[in-house]
Amino acid sequence: MNTYIPHTEDEINMMLAEIGNKSLDDLHATIPPEVLLEDGLDLPLGVSEADVVRYIGELADSNIGGHAGASKYVNTTLKEQRPRSPYPLNSLVCFAGGGTYDHYVPPVVSSLASKSEFVTSYTPYQAEVSQGVLQVLFEYQTMMSRISGLPVANASLYDGASALYEAVNMAVSYTDRHDIWISCGVNPRWRSVLDTLVAGRNIKVHPIKLRDASTDWSIPHALPDLSPPAAIVIAYPNYLGALENIEQAKELANSLEALLIVAFNPISMGMLHTPGYYGADIAIAEGQPLGIGLSFGGPYLGILSCKEEYMRIIPGRVIGESMDNRNGRAYTMTLRTREQDIRRERATSNVCTNQTLMAITATIYLSWLGPGGLKEVSRRCYSGAHYLYKLLCSIDGVEALYSEPFFNEFAIKIPVNSETLLARLADEGFLGGVALDDELCDDNASYVMEAANDNNVSSSGHVDNRPAGSEYKSNRPGDSRPGDSRRLLIAVTEKRTIQEIESYALSFEKALQ
């Protein structure tokens, strides 16, 4: 048996004797016998940690399909030798984005963020021995405030989607209104999560379509009987990479007396104006680009900042500066009366465990980068994306999807099925981009993203109104699927060299033939 238990058998026996038990089984004697497991767990016996690390390493290396006879699950898979991928997935040169970007993570960031004091502590309930985490989080909040141009930030949420959900909750509770107008330019996966999570409550989410790559805010006005929204939500840059006219969104929010929620990309803040500059009430972001690995989707980092007036309804942990009884500066969790462990059913959010370690990572990354570094990374992402855009748009049959300005990511129309093209590009060693799903597109001139990617529900209100489950049949972008998506979303980061970009464009052209 392999465990991390320090006790010797003698110690166990003596401890048992001291508490008046004969055997380990006696310890659970208060459990009604009818619920006891007779045969133990249907799992294999333990193996050494080295075996497990090797097994998982082999699985990681087999990140390509078709290993026959996989899995009569753990029992056999542990012993099985599995075929290695002809090209390990991590070696594909990444041009995929869609809300997650392959930025350079310097070793100093990983090294500092993996300090065991940060990794193996918990929520800083005891401030006197938690000044380390508390101070980093206070620095984090300060950086998030500065990077978004808003005065208040919390100590992190799970990811961009959860930041969107919590921002919507804030707006609903602040305005006591129940409608949300959300641009279809907001990441469709985030919108999908939002639709799911508000389903039990009286919140109606109205997705507003795009024309080209910009939200057509005239649509909701044309609808009859639409109540004024608690918030309007826009992304900058949006899911297609485009930089929409955000002033227009602000004017609309003002005229409706609704909150303006802006989803932004923190990396773009080296060369774009902040959400705060544009008058956002709440700014949200996926913090993954800030030194956090691709990680197959998580853990990432949910950034949320806001104006002062929303401070007491902000979700999750908030760290505040205070004094100790020696008249020194000290940090502590604050505004605790908002939180679930104190306010229970009247809490502003149910968040307890958040993503502190990712917040620490982002703080260290941004300190490493500094204002000059952020600007440099922004410019490089911009330059790489525009350089590639030009190369691709000069290929026969490739067309730009929109004419709006963009930052690090753009969308194009291609003459073949996106999945086919992506598969061919993978053969050439590239993760070629993200297919824009059929549900996200129609073939009209205006670009319509009516619903989130695997979810045909356009407004969620009560689930009673939802279509049956069969509506959810479709799969995620990147999976083979029926239908004929001919649109591709392509991102370039500061990591991509000119050789990679040029050879990607060449492979692209070749793959189209």
Binding site: E18, L197, A199, S295, D324, R380
Partner: protein, 515 residues
Amino acid sequence: MTEQQQEQTSGFGYGNHLKGNRDNLVAGGNASSTPLMGGDEEPLIFSLSSPGRRAFQLPSTGVPDISPDTNNIEPPALPEVSERDLVSHYTRLAHRQYSVDLGFYPLGSCTMKYNPKAFDEIAAISSLKDVHPLVSAQLSQGWMEILWTLERALCAITGMSAFTLQPPAGAAGELTGLLVAGAYHRSLGEHRTVVLVPESAHGTNPASATLAGYQTKTVATGSDGCVNMASLESALSEDVAAIMLTNPNTIGIFEKDVVEICRLVHEAGALAYYDGANLNAIMGITTPAKMGFDIVHLNTHKTFATPHGGGGPGAGPVGVRAGLDQYLPGPRPTLQDDGTYRWEIPECSIGRVHSYNGNAMVLVRALAYILSNGADGLKRVSQIAVLNANWLLKTLSDTYEVPYGSRCMHEFVLSASTFKRRYGIRAQDIAKMLLDRGVHPPTVSFPLVVDEALMIEPTETESVQTLQDFASAMIEIASEIEDTKGASAKAAPERTPVGRVDETRAARHPIVVAE
């Protein structure tokens, strides 16, 4: 065996171990001998900033700069520091932080057990961590097998029939589970509005119920620390969608009537929701399915030793019994006849609760923990967690008031109410006195059903010597309070990097960002 060795292995008999043999039985130094317990204030990173100084170096790419002039846009005021200063700053801050690696951390309900280092290696595997979440299924079969295998293992451990790995934390799992319950009832044409939560429940339960659109009704806790059955019966009605139960409960007691509770709940047409916060007490002994639960959420950072990260990331997989699996979030990895994996969205799925695949890098560590412990190891984990808790409970029960019972599962609750009555000393004061002894305190002021609660969870990874040191500290504190009539308690802690922090001031005049 030498005389000394003999003494070491036999010297901690109950009642005499607290004195006499202490010198021979050490758990290692304690945290008070580390830099944690000293040092000057560390300035904010912003104060280390010097205009023009830089740490960053970017890879050379050869891409021409074709970006527009944005000189009218001032980049955010981030610190400008050297890499060397950066390293010192965050290393010094790390030294001002208590952690499991540093010492005993008996935070009740949080399960601060040792996090195996081998699994840090898994988190560093490039072909796991450098994988974009939007790659095709064909290219990510390895990752899909990892997630699928974890789902199967969690089913084995809980008796559930299917799991979603998407929820990024326990609280997100609770919301997910309740949304599944809602979808189920709606499929029957029912509109139920109430979720029952016992008095002793985590605050997250009622908060999640509210977010799922339910009203919370509280069920009383009986004098034995278990759900009061009369209170439950009067609370049940056709409006009730679910009961959320932690078992063992937050007092550390196994709900003796759990089978009957689930039966009554089902009879009323409601579902039984198992909050997995305390599953670590019963792995391999019983399962939520055996007890009659329909929906389960787990906290991988509690049960399966994934690191707590200063407050996250966690992961909160949700499992359901057969008949509810079609409502789970999707897509989920499924194994095809040809041995490959495919993403599938359950037939009546409530939809996504995460943008991608949940906190994948956390989940893979949970799988590693489960595989390395195995069926035998996981059972042992639960047994020793319960052994440690009972041993500590017995050792402390002469000194501290034990509000519920003389036996416990993996954790127990003491009350400082006597000290409060006599000297005005509260649980939080005892916590601060523990800090001066180099130990992280238990959870204080929770559960709410106990006045001045001290909720202690030693976990299975702590040796009896560590428990003994902790017990000594607790007993010493009790007598110090008596001796000084509580006078010394209010001054604690004195040996920590900062003194007692003024939380009222922080809340009254919130300063949440630096100037």
